[in-house]
């Protein structure tokens, strides 16, 4: 019998006064470190993933099943389907020089809450000092910022202006507190 997996919130998608909150099921998350100035590294990653690591800040690139987010000038986050993660990690490790790169499985470090609805930015403005709407103005943008005192990563999903859909990546240990804050904040969104 294999070990049972637990989500943090055990929560179905639910609507809170115009904002839906949902804890996404487990996905593979791989942290990649290496120097973007290292041509060999960039080339090897590119051929392993069929994607070129973005060097522009605050963006995400993706193909059918892999999404790569810029986290810093020498740091990226790869999101994969859970069942493909181990394969991709071995592929990366076999393609890359372990002395000059770091491939780390961080699938369980963070949980992802998907926030959708027209009031998402209003709700988040209660907790974020950053001008998130501005940072996430363009399609396929991501933003690392501070939520109260917590480091978080926002990923924009929507490709039109009509609907807002954001993925909020946050430390597993903070998830419960943040979720409760969001639900509390959603009680009053007519600002």
């Amino acid at each position: 019998m294999s070990l049972a997996f637990n989500n943090v919130l055990n929560l179905n998608k639910k609507n809170y006064n115009g904002v839906t909150i949902e804890e996404l099921s487990l996905s593979g998350k791989i942290n990649i470190r290496g120097k973007s100035s290292d041509k060999e590294f960039m080339k090897n990653i590119g051929s392993a993933l069929n994607l070129v690591l973005p060097i522009e800040p605050n963006v995400r690139i993706f193909n059918n099943n892999i999404s790569i987010m810029w986290l810093g000038p020498n740091e990226w986050l790869v999101i994969t389907p859970e069942n493909e993660k181990d394969g991709i990690i071995s592929l990366l490790k076999s393609n890359l020089n372990p002395q000059k790169t770091a491939i780390t499985d961080v699938s369980f470090n963070r949980t992802i809450l998907r926030l959708e609805g027209e009031k998402v930015f209003t709700l988040l403005s209660k907790f974020l000092v950053a001008n998130l709407e501005e940072i996430l103005k363009t399609n396929f943008s991501v933003a690392q910022t501070i939520f109260i005192k917590i480091p978080v990563l926002f990923v924009r999903n929507n490709t039109d202006e009509e609907s807002t859909s954001l993925d909020l990546h946050l430390n597993r240990s903070h998830t419960k507190y943040v979720y409760e804050l969001l639900v509390d904040g959603s009680k009053n969104l007519n600002i």
């Binding site: 000059k100 770091a102 369980f108 501005e134 240990s173 600002i191």
Partner: protein, 996 residues
């Protein structure tokens, strides 16, 4: 009372409210002030020092006098300005600072004694003799303060909200509305903030039909522009919102009162919201506050600022008096007087300090036959609880003794002493003011941030001037002075002539030594106090302010500061511009603590981090301890157990058989790259190059000052791969410090750090039966000492999930630490509990963990260390490499101070009485002497050990390593406890138990 023709509010719903428990009625839309005045209630409270009767003085946030206690019990709130409280059904307000009642106040005896309460009275009187302070304090505390602070939790909710915009406009009067329209038409994202419940500012109290914009009566114009603004989707308007701070980089704070009509007396969803607004551009249209003229007995109920009387009349339909006397040094009183005349209210006289004015309004008043007394000033007033009569005196330039005093009976004295631009936000933004002599105003001169001031806060008081300058300045500001932009907004008005203002701050200057010329009403500061302060040598305006406390009450001197300056200027014969102003500090007006705290109270007081097994701890009735932001299981009491008995059970079970600890909170840093071993050599005191793959090593991390900052076990997973563990509390700071070294000091090192703290839940199995449980969990794995010895690591598949298992120990027992991907940690924990039953598996919390490690002499960074302890002090010489040329902290270990013999060093302590547990932090002495005793060290950890059947402790003692066996004394409040210095290792010094 309401005047007959009033249509403004009388169609509104009637609202019942109570003042000092008496029932009154007002209308929806009334402020408490307007409703009280409509009911002829003028006496609102007693003054702070002299307990003088006081009434409503203004109609806005500048109100110095009309402050009340609102509501009772948990809903109560002190010092609320009646001019700002919107009435609601059932409102209860109480006058402050009087006993037994506002009409008969015993404290008023202070008024008679006022000659004995000069400036600095408290400083002078209660200084000597020093011993008497305790006696004085009781009375001073009793007399201090105005309202009563609530004793119960505030049931209301408050929140914060961040907002980003292109143009923020503060104030929605004429100039604010125009600026907003211009900004809106240029497609900027605009936020317009107004402190009152209605837009319009001064327009709302204007009814004179000759005051027009674009040939529309100004109120109609206002409705039109508001309608236009509401059609812009790029404009957001918030009312009942006061900007109270202007900070760096155009960050402004505002507090919004949400639905004030809902009332303070019941629980509403959100009561106040603080807006944190970051705007690219800021336009301040904050208006101006009318200023008083100071004369003897100028503080009686029934004396009010003229423009405020106008607001009550025109906005609320309340005539504050039936026989009105005006006192002015400029034209604005005439406009108000004309409105009173228009409503058929008797204007007894307009007392004008000037000899003449050729302005539009004085001419009108003259035409209508209003009595105008030119060249007169008010010298005194009569009327105990309300004004009855004013005394006038002819102002004479020559020193003739012409007897020329007149008495006029009245029930309202309206004062118009000119205007003071509301420059609070502007100066908070670090903008510079300049003094304008013609009307005694400090007006904005140099901006410091990206700011524009328009309207009367910019010193423009004439409507025509306001329109022209607001439009020109706003366009130039938003166009960046690009003149090619089209101007869509172009409002015009007739130029109604205004007569000259005369700078008069105080009347009867030669009589200042009489005591009743009030400058600051709320703090009861008189002109005499200011004179005295100057006489006693206070020169700077800032010092005069603090000595007399003028401008230091909750109204921050909005109606008094400029007059105080005027008085100083006259008394010292100095131009005001040379005096400067006192600093306008934030907040602009008082902000509730609730709003400042926002939602960060009670369940949201601080962040909470929870481990993957958290729910299990809750289900099993653990009590929790806060460790940093983490909620960690502290102990798991069973029925009938107290703290000590639960603790004893947990500690004993772990030593005797098997304990299980949730250690998930420890920091875990994944370290990869070519130079990992070199990196660890630099940041730890010991050597890492030769650590075998699959082996673990304990390390101590120092700051470059040589002091211990962290410790933990690091495991070599591969040639270029380590896993470092840090203490729970320092996980983030260690990660950040290591990243700092790599990025800034050693960019040549190829090392990458990734935090995996939360990727794993950590289950720590401790005790002689831990191996048996592991074998039961993973039957086909070789757990022999040879295959899996202490201080080694294995990747083990447990029920289909790869786990990192380390044999390391923080208890001195045989221990397996299982790092399991955190999504599976709870399930594995439950399986351990289930399979461990036959070994009496006992979950233990942080308290038992502390006892277990202390029995073994293991330190906790932050408990045995406090930033002043080196590894040598901890008797951990063995971990400090002698061979390495350098590592962080090495040099400092050889400073003259760190090699001193009598540094505080770590030792164990045993109390003579084994049942006596020392208090952590207790100081230790060698012998009991007279105070102060010579302290030689302190207790860092102290517990009762069920294994030793005795109390024991760890301590830092001066030269302690050489003092084993010596007896010290812990002098406590009621007893002196004898202790013996021992080794800090109390259990299994030879490590037999670990190494099985």
């Amino acid at each position: 009372m309401r005047y007959k023709n009033n249509k403004n509010l009388e169609n509104n719903k009637s609202v019942k409210f109570y003042f000092d428990s008496k029932e009154y009625f007002g209308f929806e839309g009334d402020t408490l002030a307007s409703a009280l005045l409509a009911n002829n209630v003028h006496l609102i409270g007693r003054s702070f020092k002299y307990h003088r009767p006081r009434g409503i003085y203004s109609a806005g946030s500048e109100e110095p006098n009309g402050i009340v206690q609102l509501e009772t019990n948990e809903y109560t709130e002190p010092n609320r300005r009646v001019t700002e409280v919107q009435i609601y059904d059932g409102l209860k307000a109480y006058s402050q600072n009087n006993w037994p009642s506002v009409k008969f106040d015993a404290g008023a005896v202070n008024d008679l004694l006022s000659p004995f309460f000069p400036a600095g009275f408290y400083y002078k009187t209660f200084m000597w003799p020093p011993k008497f302070w305790k006696a004085y304090e009781f009375f001073i505390r009793h007399a201090a303060g105005l309202g009563k602070s609530p004793k119960k939790d505030d049931p209301h909710k408050y929140e914060h909200f961040h907002y980003h915009c292109d143009v923020l406009i503060v104030g929605a009067g004429v100039s604010g509305l125009i600026s907003a329209e211009i900004a809106a038409s240029k497609n900027y994202k605009v936020l317009l903030v107004e402190q009152e419940g209605d837009l319009g500012g001064e327009i709302l109290s204007t009814i004179n039909k000759n005051i027009k914009i674009d040939n529309l009566p100004i109120n109609e114009w206002k409705n039109k522009i508001i309608d236009k603004l509401s059609k812009y989707s790029n404009v957001k308007i918030v009312k009942n919102t006061t900007c109270f701070a202007y900070l760096n980089y155009n960050l402004l704070l505002a507090v919004q009162e949400i639905d004030p009509e809902k009332g303070l007396n019941k629980k509403n969803d959100i009561r106040e919201r603080i807006w944190k607004i970051r705007s690219k551009k800021v336009i301040l249209a904050t208006g101006a506050i009318e200023r008083p003229i100071i004369f003897n007995n100028n503080d009686r109920p029934g004396i009010m600022l003229s423009n405020s009387a106008k607001k009550y009349l025109n906005k609320y339909g309340v005539a504050v008096g039936k026989n009105v006397v005006f006192f002015t040094n400029n034209d604005s009183a005439y406009e108000t007087a004309l409105d009173f005349v228009e409503q058929g209210i008797k204007v007894e006289a307009i007392v004008d300090t000037r000899d003449n004015s050729d302005g539009y309004f004085p001419n009108k008043a003259n035409e209508l036959g209003v009595t105008i007394l030119k060249g007169y000033e008010i010298s005194d007033t009569i009327g105990r609880l309300k004004i009855r009569e004013v005394k006038l005196k002819k102002i004479t330039t020559e020193n003739n003794n012409e007897k020329s005093s007149i008495n006029i009976k009245c029930d309202l004295l309206a004062i118009a002493g000119g205007w003071t631009p509301t420059v609070h936000l502007f100066t908070q933004s670090k903008g510079k003011l300049k003094y304008r002599d013609i009307d005694g105003s400090y007006i904005p001169s140099e901006v410091y941030q990206d700011t524009l001031c328009v309207g009367s806060c910019n010193g423009d008081y004439n409507l025509n001037e306001i329109l022209i300058k607001t439009q020109e300045d706003t366009l130039a500001y938003l166009n960046n002075n690009d003149e090619n932009e089209l101007d869509e907004v172009n409002y015009k008005s007739d130029n109604l002539k205004h007569g000259k203002h005369e700078n008069i701050w105080i009347t009867s200057k030669n009589n200042i030594s009489r005591t009743k010329m009030f400058v600051d009403f709320q703090n009861d500061v008189t002109a005499k106090d200011i004179k005295l302060a100057l006489k006693e040598g206070f020169q700077s305006i800032e010092h005069v302010k603090r000595y007399t406390t003028t401008g230091m009450a909750t109204d921050q001197g909005k109606t008094s500061n400029i007059n105080a300056l005027g008085i100083i200027s006259e008394l010292t014969d100095t131009n005001i511009s040379e005096l400067g102003t006192t600093t306008f500090r934030l907040p602009y007006k008082p902000v509730t603590f609730g709003a400042i705290a926002g939602r960060h109270v009670k369940e949201f007081f601080d962040l909470e981090r929870t481990s993957p097994m958290h729910q299990w701890h809750i289900d099993n009735e653990a009590l929790f301890e806060d460790v940093g932001q983490w909620k960690r299981a502290w102990y798991y009491p069973k029925k009938n157990e107290n703290f000590q008995s639960a603790l004893n059970r947990e500690v004993k079970a772990t030593r005797d058989s098997l304990g299980i600890l949730d250690a998930s909170t420890l920091g875990k840093i994944d370290i990869k790259g070519r130079d990992v071993s070199e990196f660890l050599n630099r940041v730890y005191t010991n050597s890492w190059s030769k650590l075998e793959i699959g082996k673990c090593r304990y390390g101590v991390m120092l700051g470059d000052d040589g002091m211990v900052i962290d410790d933990g076990v690091t495991t070599r997973l591969d040639e270029f791969h380590y896993l470092m563990s840090t203490t729970t509390g320092n996980a983030a700071s260690v990660m950040s410090k290591l990243e700092d070294w790599l990025q800034t000091e050693w960019p040549e090192l190829e090392v990458y750090l990734t935090s995996v703290t939360e990727n794993y839940g950590t289950i720590s199995l401790n005790g002689p039966n831990s191996k048996k449980l592991m074998q039961k969990l993973i039957p086909d794995f070789d757990f022999s000492k040879e295959n899996f010895p202490h201080m080694s690591f294995k990747d083990i598949n447990i029920n289909g999930i790869m786990c990192r298992v380390m044999r390391i120990s923080f208890t001195g027992e045989m221990c397996y630490e299982i790092n399991v991907p955190s999504g599976y940690a709870k399930n594995l924990w439950e399986i351990c509990i289930d399979k461990g039953k036959e070994f009496n598996i006992t979950p233990y919390g942080t308290e038992a963990m502390h006892v277990l490690r202390a029995e073994k002499g293991f330190i906790i960074v932050g408990q045995e260390t406090d930033g002043s302890v080196t590894p040598v002090d901890l008797d951990m010489d063995w971990i400090v490499s002698k061979k390495k040329y350098d590592f962080i902290g090495k040099r400092a270990l050889f400073r003259s101070d760190t090699i001193k013999k009598d540094r505080k060093q770590l030792v164990g302590l045993k109390t003579k009485d084994p049942n006596k547990v020392l208090e952590e932090g207790s100081q230790l002495v060698e012998k009991i002497t007279a105070l102060p005793m010579k302290m030689v060290g302190h207790v860092t950890s102290s517990y009762y050990s069920p294994n030793l059947k005795s109390s024991f402790a760890l301590a830092l003692i001066k030269g302690g390593l050489e003092k084993k066996g010596k007896v010290l004394i812990a002098p406590m409040e009621n007893e002196n406890i004898e202790v013996e210095i021992t080794s800090p290792v109390f259990i299994d010094p030879k490590n037999h138990r670990i190494n099985q």
